[in-house]
Protein backbone atom coordinates (compact mmCIF):
# COMPACT_ATOMS: atom_id res chain seq x y z
CA UNK A 1 0.00 0.00 0.00
CA UNK A 2 1.39 3.38 -0.94
CA UNK A 3 1.77 6.01 1.78
CA UNK A 4 1.49 9.76 1.23
CA UNK A 5 5.02 11.23 0.98
CA UNK A 6 5.85 13.53 3.90
CA UNK A 7 6.10 17.24 3.10
CA UNK A 8 9.54 18.80 3.57
CA UNK A 9 8.24 22.34 3.13
CA UNK A 10 9.30 24.74 5.92
CA UNK A 11 9.94 28.47 6.31
CA UNK A 12 13.35 29.99 5.63
CA UNK A 13 13.69 30.70 9.38
CA UNK A 14 13.08 27.02 10.18
CA UNK A 15 15.63 26.01 7.55
CA UNK A 16 18.24 28.28 9.15
CA UNK A 17 18.07 26.19 12.35
CA UNK A 18 20.17 23.65 10.43
CA UNK A 19 22.87 26.22 9.60
CA UNK A 20 25.66 27.29 11.94
CA UNK A 21 28.79 29.43 12.28
CA UNK A 22 31.85 27.89 10.66
CA UNK A 23 29.94 25.51 8.40
CA UNK A 24 31.09 24.60 4.91
CA UNK A 25 28.28 25.53 2.54
CA UNK A 26 27.91 24.91 -1.19
CA UNK A 27 26.27 27.85 -2.97
CA UNK A 28 25.52 27.17 -6.63
CA UNK A 29 24.84 29.75 -9.30
CA UNK A 30 26.66 31.32 -12.21
CA UNK A 31 27.30 35.04 -11.67
CA UNK A 32 23.73 36.01 -10.71
CA UNK A 33 21.83 33.19 -12.40
CA UNK A 34 20.49 30.24 -10.41
CA UNK A 35 21.82 31.58 -7.10
CA UNK A 36 19.84 30.50 -3.98
CA UNK A 37 19.15 34.13 -3.03
CA UNK A 38 16.31 33.44 -0.61
CA UNK A 39 18.38 31.07 1.51
CA UNK A 40 21.40 33.39 1.39
CA UNK A 41 19.14 36.19 2.66
CA UNK A 42 18.12 33.75 5.41
CA UNK A 43 21.79 33.33 6.40
CA UNK A 44 22.14 37.12 6.48
CA UNK A 45 19.14 37.55 8.79
CA UNK A 46 20.22 34.65 11.03
CA UNK A 47 23.65 36.27 11.48
CA UNK A 48 25.53 33.10 10.51
CA UNK A 49 29.23 33.76 9.94
CA UNK A 50 32.76 32.33 9.48
CA UNK A 51 31.58 30.39 6.46
CA UNK A 52 33.62 28.27 4.12
CA UNK A 53 31.79 28.85 0.86
CA UNK A 54 32.21 26.51 -2.10
CA UNK A 55 30.83 28.20 -5.20
CA UNK A 56 31.78 28.96 -8.78
CA UNK A 57 31.90 32.72 -8.24
CA UNK A 58 30.49 35.34 -5.89
CA UNK A 59 27.55 36.77 -7.86
CA UNK A 60 27.85 40.52 -8.33
CA UNK A 61 28.42 43.27 -5.77
CA UNK A 62 25.61 43.42 -3.21
CA UNK A 63 23.55 40.55 -4.68
CA UNK A 64 23.33 36.85 -3.84
CA UNK A 65 26.68 35.59 -2.53
CA UNK A 66 27.84 39.22 -2.81
CA UNK A 67 25.75 40.00 0.30
CA UNK A 68 27.80 37.51 2.33
CA UNK A 69 30.99 39.02 0.91
CA UNK A 70 29.89 42.57 1.75
CA UNK A 71 29.04 41.69 5.36
CA UNK A 72 32.28 39.73 5.97
CA UNK A 73 30.49 36.41 6.54
CA UNK A 74 32.94 34.42 4.44
CA UNK A 75 36.22 33.26 5.95
CA UNK A 76 37.30 30.93 3.20
CA UNK A 77 36.17 30.80 -0.41
CA UNK A 78 36.72 27.95 -2.85
CA UNK A 79 35.76 29.09 -6.36
CA UNK A 80 36.95 29.57 -9.94
CA UNK A 81 36.30 33.25 -10.59
CA UNK A 82 35.65 36.47 -8.64
CA UNK A 83 36.03 39.00 -11.46
CA UNK A 84 32.30 39.82 -11.58
CA UNK A 85 32.38 41.12 -8.00
CA UNK A 86 34.91 43.90 -7.37
CA UNK A 87 34.24 43.77 -3.64
CA UNK A 88 35.37 40.14 -3.43
CA UNK A 89 38.59 41.03 -5.26
CA UNK A 90 39.22 43.88 -2.79
CA UNK A 91 38.63 41.67 0.25
CA UNK A 92 40.85 38.92 -1.10
CA UNK A 93 43.64 41.43 -1.77
CA UNK A 94 43.18 42.85 1.76
CA UNK A 95 43.49 39.34 3.21
CA UNK A 96 39.94 39.42 4.64
CA UNK A 97 38.89 36.39 2.62
CA UNK A 98 41.16 33.39 2.24
CA UNK A 99 40.72 32.08 -1.32
CA UNK A 100 41.39 28.79 -3.08
CA UNK A 101 41.01 28.98 -6.85
CA UNK A 102 39.93 25.78 -8.55
CA UNK A 103 39.30 25.55 -12.32
CA UNK A 104 35.56 25.50 -13.03
CA UNK A 105 35.53 21.99 -14.48
CA UNK A 106 37.63 20.70 -11.59
CA UNK A 107 35.16 22.15 -9.05
CA UNK A 108 32.46 20.09 -10.79
CA UNK A 109 34.47 16.88 -10.74
CA UNK A 110 35.73 17.34 -7.16
CA UNK A 111 32.14 17.84 -6.03
CA UNK A 112 30.96 14.94 -8.19
CA UNK A 113 33.57 12.73 -6.50
CA UNK A 114 32.45 14.01 -3.10
CA UNK A 115 28.85 13.19 -3.88
CA UNK A 116 29.44 9.89 -5.63
CA UNK A 117 31.74 8.15 -3.16
CA UNK A 118 34.80 8.45 -5.39
CA UNK A 119 38.20 9.00 -3.74
CA UNK A 120 39.46 11.54 -6.26
CA UNK A 121 39.63 12.23 -9.98
CA UNK A 122 42.42 12.51 -12.56
CA UNK A 123 42.21 15.61 -14.75
CA UNK A 124 44.60 17.10 -17.30
CA UNK A 125 43.25 20.57 -16.48
CA UNK A 126 45.84 22.76 -14.77
CA UNK A 127 48.96 20.74 -15.61
CA UNK A 128 52.12 22.92 -15.54
CA UNK A 129 50.10 25.77 -14.00
CA UNK A 130 49.85 26.92 -10.36
CA UNK A 131 46.90 24.48 -10.05
CA UNK A 132 49.48 21.68 -9.91
CA UNK A 133 51.24 23.09 -6.82
CA UNK A 134 51.01 20.83 -3.79
CA UNK A 135 49.08 18.16 -5.69
CA UNK A 136 50.11 14.70 -6.85
CA UNK A 137 50.62 14.21 -10.60
CA UNK A 138 50.31 10.85 -12.32
CA UNK A 139 51.69 9.77 -15.68
CA UNK A 140 50.39 6.86 -17.74
CA UNK A 141 53.12 4.35 -18.62
CA UNK A 142 51.87 2.70 -21.80
CA UNK A 143 54.42 -0.16 -21.74
CA UNK A 144 53.70 -1.20 -18.18
CA UNK A 145 50.01 -0.33 -18.42
CA UNK A 146 50.02 1.54 -15.14
CA UNK A 147 50.18 5.01 -13.64
CA UNK A 148 53.18 6.32 -11.74
CA UNK A 149 53.61 9.46 -9.64
CA UNK A 150 55.85 12.06 -11.31
CA UNK A 151 57.13 15.60 -10.70
CA UNK A 152 57.99 18.45 -13.09
CA UNK A 153 61.64 17.33 -12.86
CA UNK A 154 60.80 14.05 -14.65
CA UNK A 155 60.82 14.16 -18.48
CA UNK A 156 57.31 13.86 -19.95
CA UNK A 157 56.91 10.31 -21.33
CA UNK A 158 53.14 9.88 -21.30
CA UNK A 159 49.81 11.51 -20.67
CA UNK A 160 49.72 13.28 -17.31
CA UNK A 161 46.91 14.05 -14.90
CA UNK A 162 46.50 15.95 -11.64
CA UNK A 163 44.96 13.98 -8.79
CA UNK A 164 42.14 16.19 -7.49
CA UNK A 165 40.53 15.20 -4.20
CA UNK A 166 36.79 15.17 -3.42
CA UNK A 167 34.90 18.18 -2.08
CA UNK A 168 32.11 17.76 0.44
CA UNK A 169 30.04 20.25 2.43
CA UNK A 170 28.02 20.36 5.63
CA UNK A 171 25.12 22.12 3.92
CA UNK A 172 24.11 22.83 0.32
CA UNK A 173 21.55 25.41 -0.81
CA UNK A 174 19.80 24.79 -4.12
CA UNK A 175 17.78 27.13 -6.33
CA UNK A 176 15.00 25.24 -8.12
CA UNK A 177 12.47 26.35 -10.69
CA UNK A 178 9.98 23.74 -9.51
CA UNK A 179 10.08 21.42 -6.52
CA UNK A 180 7.38 19.13 -5.27
CA UNK A 181 6.68 18.98 -1.56
CA UNK A 182 9.03 16.03 -1.03
CA UNK A 183 11.91 17.80 -2.76
CA UNK A 184 11.96 16.40 -6.29
CA UNK A 185 13.50 19.22 -8.32
CA UNK A 186 13.43 20.72 -11.80
CA UNK A 187 15.80 23.50 -12.85
CA UNK A 188 15.23 26.11 -15.56
CA UNK A 189 17.63 26.85 -18.46
CA UNK A 190 21.12 27.99 -17.38
CA UNK A 191 19.94 28.49 -13.79
CA UNK A 192 20.63 24.76 -13.50
CA UNK A 193 24.44 25.23 -13.59
CA UNK A 194 26.04 23.97 -10.34
CA UNK A 195 22.76 23.28 -8.52
CA UNK A 196 22.42 19.70 -9.70
CA UNK A 197 25.93 18.49 -8.83
CA UNK A 198 26.28 20.48 -5.59
CA UNK A 199 23.04 18.90 -4.31
CA UNK A 200 24.79 15.51 -4.29
CA UNK A 201 27.70 16.41 -2.02
CA UNK A 202 26.43 17.85 1.26
CA UNK A 203 25.21 16.30 4.51
CA UNK A 204 22.13 18.53 4.49
CA UNK A 205 20.41 19.89 1.37
CA UNK A 206 17.95 22.78 1.44
CA UNK A 207 16.04 23.65 -1.74
CA UNK A 208 14.40 26.99 -2.46
CA UNK A 209 11.84 26.74 -5.25
CA UNK A 210 10.12 29.35 -7.40
CA UNK A 211 7.14 27.01 -7.63
CA UNK A 212 6.25 24.37 -5.02
CA UNK A 213 3.92 21.76 -6.48
CA UNK A 214 2.06 18.67 -5.29
CA UNK A 215 3.90 15.35 -5.20
CA UNK A 216 3.06 13.47 -8.40
CA UNK A 217 2.72 16.52 -10.61
CA UNK A 218 6.30 16.31 -11.93
CA UNK A 219 7.03 13.76 -14.64
CA UNK A 220 9.45 11.21 -13.07
CA UNK A 221 11.62 11.35 -16.21
CA UNK A 222 11.99 15.12 -15.91
CA UNK A 223 13.11 15.24 -12.28
CA UNK A 224 16.71 16.46 -12.19
CA UNK A 225 17.48 16.07 -8.47
CA UNK A 226 15.64 13.28 -6.63
CA UNK A 227 13.78 14.28 -3.50
CA UNK A 228 15.62 11.51 -1.65
CA UNK A 229 18.69 13.78 -1.64
CA UNK A 230 16.76 16.78 -0.33
CA UNK A 231 16.12 17.53 3.35
CA UNK A 232 14.00 20.69 3.26
CA UNK A 233 12.09 22.84 0.76
CA UNK A 234 11.35 26.56 1.14
CA UNK A 235 9.53 28.97 -1.17
CA UNK A 236 11.90 31.21 -3.17
CA UNK A 237 11.35 34.95 -3.05
CA UNK A 238 12.41 36.32 -6.41
CA UNK A 239 14.07 39.71 -5.88
CA UNK A 240 15.21 40.21 -9.42
CA UNK A 241 14.63 38.02 -12.43
CA UNK A 242 17.82 37.00 -14.19
Amino acid sequence: MSKTPKSKVVTVEQAMEHCYDGMTVMLPGFVNCGVPQTLIEGLMKAGIKDLHVISNNTSVKGKGIGKLVHDNRIKHLTCSHIGNNTETVEKVVAGEINITFVPQGSICEKVRAGGAGIGGILTPTGLHTPMQDGKQVLEWDNEKGEYKFVTDADPVKGKRYILELPLHADVCFVHAYKADKMGNVQYHRTARNFNEIFATAADFVIVEAEHIVEVGSLDPDEIMTPGALVDLVVPAVMEDAE
Partner: protein
Protein backbone atom coordinates in the same frame (compact mmCIF):
# COMPACT_ATOMS: atom_id res chain seq x y z
CA UNK B 1 27.79 39.30 -42.58
CA UNK B 2 29.10 42.72 -41.58
CA UNK B 3 32.44 44.19 -42.69
CA UNK B 4 35.20 44.72 -40.06
CA UNK B 5 35.77 48.38 -39.23
CA UNK B 6 38.51 48.48 -36.58
CA UNK B 7 41.41 46.42 -35.18
CA UNK B 8 39.21 44.35 -32.84
CA UNK B 9 36.74 43.62 -35.64
CA UNK B 10 39.56 42.67 -38.02
CA UNK B 11 40.80 40.17 -35.42
CA UNK B 12 37.26 38.82 -34.90
CA UNK B 13 36.53 38.58 -38.63
CA UNK B 14 39.68 36.57 -39.33
CA UNK B 15 39.15 34.35 -36.28
CA UNK B 16 35.62 33.49 -37.40
CA UNK B 17 37.06 32.10 -40.67
CA UNK B 18 38.66 29.27 -38.68
CA UNK B 19 35.22 27.83 -37.91
CA UNK B 20 33.78 25.08 -40.05
CA UNK B 21 30.16 24.26 -40.79
CA UNK B 22 28.64 22.38 -37.86
CA UNK B 23 31.43 23.26 -35.41
CA UNK B 24 30.75 23.64 -31.70
CA UNK B 25 32.64 26.76 -30.60
CA UNK B 26 33.18 28.40 -27.22
CA UNK B 27 33.80 32.16 -27.30
CA UNK B 28 35.42 33.72 -24.23
CA UNK B 29 34.03 36.90 -22.74
CA UNK B 30 35.25 40.21 -24.18
CA UNK B 31 36.73 40.48 -27.68
CA UNK B 32 36.00 36.84 -28.70
CA UNK B 33 32.23 37.49 -28.57
CA UNK B 34 32.69 39.88 -31.53
CA UNK B 35 33.12 36.74 -33.69
CA UNK B 36 29.32 36.31 -33.53
CA UNK B 37 28.99 39.14 -36.08
CA UNK B 38 31.47 37.67 -38.56
CA UNK B 39 30.38 34.09 -39.17
CA UNK B 40 30.58 33.56 -42.94
CA UNK B 41 27.11 33.32 -44.52
CA UNK B 42 27.69 29.85 -45.96
CA UNK B 43 28.43 28.09 -42.67
CA UNK B 44 26.42 27.38 -39.53
CA UNK B 45 28.21 27.27 -36.18
CA UNK B 46 26.84 26.31 -32.75
CA UNK B 47 28.03 28.31 -29.79
CA UNK B 48 28.70 26.64 -26.46
CA UNK B 49 28.76 28.53 -23.19
CA UNK B 50 30.42 26.76 -20.27
CA UNK B 51 27.67 27.67 -17.81
CA UNK B 52 25.62 24.97 -19.50
CA UNK B 53 24.11 25.84 -22.85
CA UNK B 54 24.58 25.15 -26.56
CA UNK B 55 22.90 27.49 -29.02
CA UNK B 56 23.51 31.00 -27.69
CA UNK B 57 23.18 33.73 -30.33
CA UNK B 58 24.08 36.87 -28.40
CA UNK B 59 22.34 39.56 -26.38
CA UNK B 60 18.68 40.41 -27.09
CA UNK B 61 18.10 43.44 -29.31
CA UNK B 62 17.03 46.59 -27.55
CA UNK B 63 13.33 46.43 -26.78
CA UNK B 64 13.09 42.66 -27.29
CA UNK B 65 12.00 40.50 -24.34
CA UNK B 66 14.88 39.34 -22.16
CA UNK B 67 14.80 35.56 -21.73
CA UNK B 68 14.57 34.35 -18.13
CA UNK B 69 17.45 32.28 -16.76
CA UNK B 70 19.52 32.26 -19.97
CA UNK B 71 22.90 33.91 -19.50
CA UNK B 72 26.25 33.75 -21.30
CA UNK B 73 29.68 33.01 -19.82
CA UNK B 74 29.86 36.60 -18.55
CA UNK B 75 26.51 36.29 -16.76
CA UNK B 76 24.73 38.56 -19.27
CA UNK B 77 21.23 37.69 -20.53
CA UNK B 78 21.45 36.01 -23.90
CA UNK B 79 19.18 34.65 -26.62
CA UNK B 80 18.99 30.95 -27.51
CA UNK B 81 18.25 29.63 -30.97
CA UNK B 82 15.77 26.88 -31.77
CA UNK B 83 17.49 23.53 -31.33
CA UNK B 84 19.67 24.77 -28.47
CA UNK B 85 19.76 22.97 -25.16
CA UNK B 86 20.69 23.46 -21.51
CA UNK B 87 22.58 21.17 -19.16
CA UNK B 88 24.31 21.27 -15.79
CA UNK B 89 27.88 22.44 -15.17
CA UNK B 90 29.50 19.03 -14.69
CA UNK B 91 28.18 17.77 -18.02
CA UNK B 92 29.18 21.06 -19.62
CA UNK B 93 32.78 20.59 -18.52
CA UNK B 94 32.63 16.93 -19.45
CA UNK B 95 31.80 18.01 -23.01
CA UNK B 96 34.62 20.57 -22.88
CA UNK B 97 37.32 18.39 -21.32
CA UNK B 98 36.17 15.39 -23.33
CA UNK B 99 37.11 16.97 -26.65
CA UNK B 100 33.59 17.64 -27.93
CA UNK B 101 34.21 21.37 -28.45
CA UNK B 102 35.85 22.06 -31.81
CA UNK B 103 37.33 25.44 -30.99
CA UNK B 104 37.80 27.69 -27.99
CA UNK B 105 38.60 31.36 -28.52
CA UNK B 106 40.05 33.47 -25.74
CA UNK B 107 42.28 36.42 -24.90
CA UNK B 108 45.81 36.52 -23.48
CA UNK B 109 48.13 38.47 -21.22
CA UNK B 110 50.95 36.64 -22.97
CA UNK B 111 51.27 33.69 -25.32
CA UNK B 112 54.58 32.10 -26.22
CA UNK B 113 56.42 30.21 -28.96
CA UNK B 114 55.58 26.82 -27.41
CA UNK B 115 51.86 27.57 -27.30
CA UNK B 116 51.81 28.33 -23.59
CA UNK B 117 49.00 30.69 -22.61
CA UNK B 118 48.89 33.06 -19.64
CA UNK B 119 45.57 34.84 -19.20
CA UNK B 120 44.35 34.49 -15.60
CA UNK B 121 46.77 36.13 -13.21
CA UNK B 122 49.74 38.47 -13.07
CA UNK B 123 51.85 38.02 -9.91
CA UNK B 124 51.42 40.97 -7.55
CA UNK B 125 48.10 41.99 -9.06
CA UNK B 126 44.59 41.01 -8.00
CA UNK B 127 43.57 37.83 -9.83
CA UNK B 128 40.01 37.39 -11.08
CA UNK B 129 40.48 33.62 -11.34
CA UNK B 130 40.62 31.26 -14.28
CA UNK B 131 36.92 30.39 -14.44
CA UNK B 132 36.58 27.77 -17.16
CA UNK B 133 39.63 28.81 -19.21
CA UNK B 134 41.98 26.06 -18.02
CA UNK B 135 39.45 23.35 -18.86
CA UNK B 136 38.64 24.93 -22.23
CA UNK B 137 42.24 25.14 -23.45
CA UNK B 138 42.94 21.63 -22.16
CA UNK B 139 39.95 20.00 -23.82
CA UNK B 140 39.03 21.89 -26.98
CA UNK B 141 40.29 20.46 -30.27
CA UNK B 142 41.62 23.87 -31.37
CA UNK B 143 42.64 26.79 -29.17
CA UNK B 144 42.68 30.20 -30.83
CA UNK B 145 44.03 33.25 -29.03
CA UNK B 146 42.65 36.64 -30.08
CA UNK B 147 44.86 39.49 -28.95
CA UNK B 148 46.26 42.85 -29.87
CA UNK B 149 49.79 42.24 -31.09
CA UNK B 150 51.34 44.43 -28.38
CA UNK B 151 50.14 45.70 -25.00
CA UNK B 152 49.20 49.35 -24.35
CA UNK B 153 52.84 50.20 -23.59
CA UNK B 154 53.90 48.70 -26.94
CA UNK B 155 55.49 45.55 -25.50
CA UNK B 156 55.01 42.32 -27.46
CA UNK B 157 52.32 39.99 -26.07
CA UNK B 158 53.67 37.15 -28.18
CA UNK B 159 56.92 36.16 -26.46
CA UNK B 160 59.55 33.43 -26.75
CA UNK B 161 58.88 32.01 -23.27
CA UNK B 162 56.33 33.49 -20.88
CA UNK B 163 57.25 33.80 -17.22
CA UNK B 164 53.65 34.40 -16.13
CA UNK B 165 51.64 31.69 -14.33
CA UNK B 166 50.10 29.57 -17.07
CA UNK B 167 46.48 28.93 -17.98
CA UNK B 168 47.57 26.08 -20.22
CA UNK B 169 50.82 24.41 -21.28
CA UNK B 170 51.38 23.66 -24.98
CA UNK B 171 47.73 24.37 -25.78
CA UNK B 172 47.56 27.26 -28.29
CA UNK B 173 47.14 26.41 -31.97
CA UNK B 174 46.62 29.83 -33.55
CA UNK B 175 47.19 33.46 -32.56
CA UNK B 176 45.19 36.11 -34.39
CA UNK B 177 46.15 39.76 -33.91
CA UNK B 178 45.37 42.93 -35.88
CA UNK B 179 48.70 42.39 -37.67
CA UNK B 180 49.06 38.67 -38.23
CA UNK B 181 47.93 35.06 -38.01
CA UNK B 182 50.53 32.86 -36.32
CA UNK B 183 50.30 29.06 -36.30
CA UNK B 184 52.02 27.35 -33.36
CA UNK B 185 53.66 24.20 -34.75
CA UNK B 186 56.04 21.64 -33.17
CA UNK B 187 58.86 23.44 -35.05
CA UNK B 188 57.84 26.84 -33.67
CA UNK B 189 55.50 29.74 -34.45
CA UNK B 190 54.90 30.14 -38.19
CA UNK B 191 53.87 33.52 -39.61
CA UNK B 192 51.10 32.38 -41.94
CA UNK B 193 49.30 35.63 -42.77
CA UNK B 194 49.76 39.36 -42.29
CA UNK B 195 47.33 42.29 -42.46
CA UNK B 196 47.23 44.32 -45.69
CA UNK B 197 48.56 47.46 -44.00
CA UNK B 198 51.73 45.92 -42.54
CA UNK B 199 54.94 44.16 -43.60
CA UNK B 200 56.63 40.94 -42.53
CA UNK B 201 59.46 43.09 -41.11
CA UNK B 202 57.08 45.09 -38.92
CA UNK B 203 55.39 41.94 -37.57
CA UNK B 204 58.75 40.29 -36.84
CA UNK B 205 59.94 43.46 -35.05
CA UNK B 206 56.80 43.61 -32.90
CA UNK B 207 56.90 39.92 -31.94
CA UNK B 208 58.93 38.73 -28.96
CA UNK B 209 59.02 35.13 -30.22
CA UNK B 210 61.31 33.98 -33.03
CA UNK B 211 58.94 33.55 -35.96
CA UNK B 212 59.35 31.05 -38.76
CA UNK B 213 58.69 33.04 -41.96
CA UNK B 214 57.74 30.86 -44.94
CA UNK B 215 58.55 31.91 -48.50
CA UNK B 216 54.97 32.92 -49.07
CA UNK B 217 53.04 34.72 -46.34
CA UNK B 218 49.31 35.10 -46.98
CA UNK B 219 47.02 38.08 -46.47
CA UNK B 220 44.69 37.81 -43.47
CA UNK B 221 41.75 39.66 -45.05
Amino acid sequence: MKKPENAREIIACRTARFFKDGDLVNLGIGMPTLCLDFIPDDIDVWFDSENGVIGLIGAPNEGDPVPTDVVDAGGRPSMMRVGGCCFDSFRSFGYIRGGHVDATVLGAYEVDAEGNLANWMIPGKAAAGMGGAMDLVTGAKTTIVMTTHCDKAGNPKIVQKTELPLTGWHVVDYIVSELAVIHITPEGPVLEEIAPNTTVEEVVAKTGAKLIVPEKVGCML
